[in-house]
């Protein structure tokens, strides 16, 4: 029998009979994890960086309070790690997702590796609040998700790859937005800082499949206990 796990700003989060989790919300945009892994721009870079970035650097914080980039100490008062000459976007910062990927050899990648994180620019992914991660028995991070725009019936296979704030529901990667016809900041200087559909609009339907590893564009993602 389905049960309501919780409610965030008017949206019920429902655990269905088949253990999938459903909710309807808007779609804010998350550019995190984009490090140019597949040729698209990185999410964040210092002012000296010559290329385009997906998000305004202010959204990563600043000296002493780096909320959105990987630092040398792993703490927000550390120094941001800058991509090296052999990385996809030399000079850009490394932006993280909650979901961590392994190297080709299956071993964990160092936190400084741009490839450790899921690329928002090219991989459709979903962001979920702690209420969902802790509210179901199965593993949510890395699991399969299906995201549908009910205004145009466009749907995409996605992976749950990032954690959101406790009071927000409905956030997706730039690639996910593009796939289902959500404004993805087209033409904007910083696409991830623009576009999206407001959380109150309730036009995007999300279905998550805890414990089922996502397979997106032929890549199988790892399930990650939080």
């Amino acid at each position: 029998m389905s049960k309501i796990i919780g409610n965030i700003k008017g949206s019920d989060i429902v655990e269905e009979d088949d253990k999938s989790v459903t909710f309807t919300a808007g779609a804010q945009l998350d550019g995190d994890g984009a490090n140019g892994q597949f040729g698209e721009p990185p999410c964040y870079a210092p002012a000296s960086y010559q290329g385009k970035t997906l998000d305004l650097l202010a959204n990563a914080g600043g000296p002493g309070n780096w909320y959105g980039v990987v630092t040398d100490t792993g703490e927000d008062n550390g120094t941001p790690i800058v991509q090296g000459p052999n990385d996809p976007c030399p000079g850009a910062y490394v932006s993280a997702t909650s979901l961590h990927l392994a190297g080709k050899d299956g071993k964990p990648l160092p936190k400084s590796s741009p490839f450790k994180y899921v690329d928002s620019a090219t991989v459709p992914f979903v962001v979920v609040p702690p209420m969902i991660i802790r509210g179901v028995a199965g593993v949510v991070m890395g699991c399969r998700a299906v995201v549908t725009n009910t205004k145009n019936n466009k749907s995409v296979e996605a992976v749950v790859a990032d954690g959101g704030p406790s009071n927000k529901l409905g956030e997706i990667s730039l690639a996910c937005a593009k796939a289902i016809g959500v404004p993805a900041g087209e033409g904007a200087k910083h696409p991830a800082n623009s576009g999206g559909i407001d959380a109150s609009s309730h036009v995007i339907h999300y279905r998550l499949f805890p414990d089922v590893p996502a397979v997106v564009n032929g890549v199988t993602y790892p399930l990650q206990h939080s």
Binding site: A58, N59, Y67, S98, P130, D162, P165, S194
Partner: protein
């Protein structure tokens, strides 16, 4: 009575002339209404971007949430009062001490002008800003974004009164979109 003489009698009556006049005036006004409808409505929204420090994260895990934002809407746009085609938004929001004046079309078709005024009536640093062809077909954009500078004091005030525990303001932004 011939048809022509019947028409002459009808047009000669004052009541008939009034009806004809209204009909002609109505048709004459149709193109003007259609032109006004071409001018898109405007929507202005303030986005308060933040990140939340997540609790219970394992060592090596991502300590902060993905970026997100809260919103406050400016009042609906109204038609420009100067007789020109255009839309205007004037107003304030609860968590900023500023007044907003947003004008689409006042300085030429498609030109967007945004001004943000302090409580003293002075423009905020960097304002007014003007964007030519803001929502035209050539300009790929579906919205225009403007950064709103905030002092540390104002930032702390927003975190206290709008955001929740462990949430840190990263940026305040005005987003202007057409409503078509």
């Amino acid at each position: 009575m011939s048809i022509l003489s019947l028409l002459a009698v009808l047009v000669g009556r004052a009541s008939t002339r009034a009806i004809l006049c209204l009909a002609v005036c109505g048709f004459a006004s149709l193109p003007a209404i259609a032109e006004n409808e071409v001018t898109p409505g405007l929507v202005g929204v303030i986005r308060y971007h933040f990140r939340e420090r997540l609790e219970g994260v394992k060592p090596g895990g991502k300590q902060y949430s993905a970026p997100a934002y809260e919103t406050e809407a400016l009042p609906p746009s109204i038609a420009a009062s100067n007789g020109e085609q255009g839309r205007v938004i004037k107003g304030k929001v609860a968590h900023l001490p500023y007044s907003f004046v947003i004008n689409l079309g006042a300085k030429g078709a498609g030109t967007l002008e945004v001004n943000i005024l302090t409580a003293d009536g002075e423009p905020l640093r960097g304002y007014p800003k003007t964007v030519a062809n803001a929502f035209g077909q050539a300009a790929e954009a579906t919205s225009q974004d403007f950064e709103i500078p905030v002092t540390p004091e104002l930032s702390a005030n927003i975190e206290k009164n709008l955001l929740e525990k462990n949430q840190h303001l990263t940026q305040v932004q005005l987003v202007v979109q057409t409503s078509q």
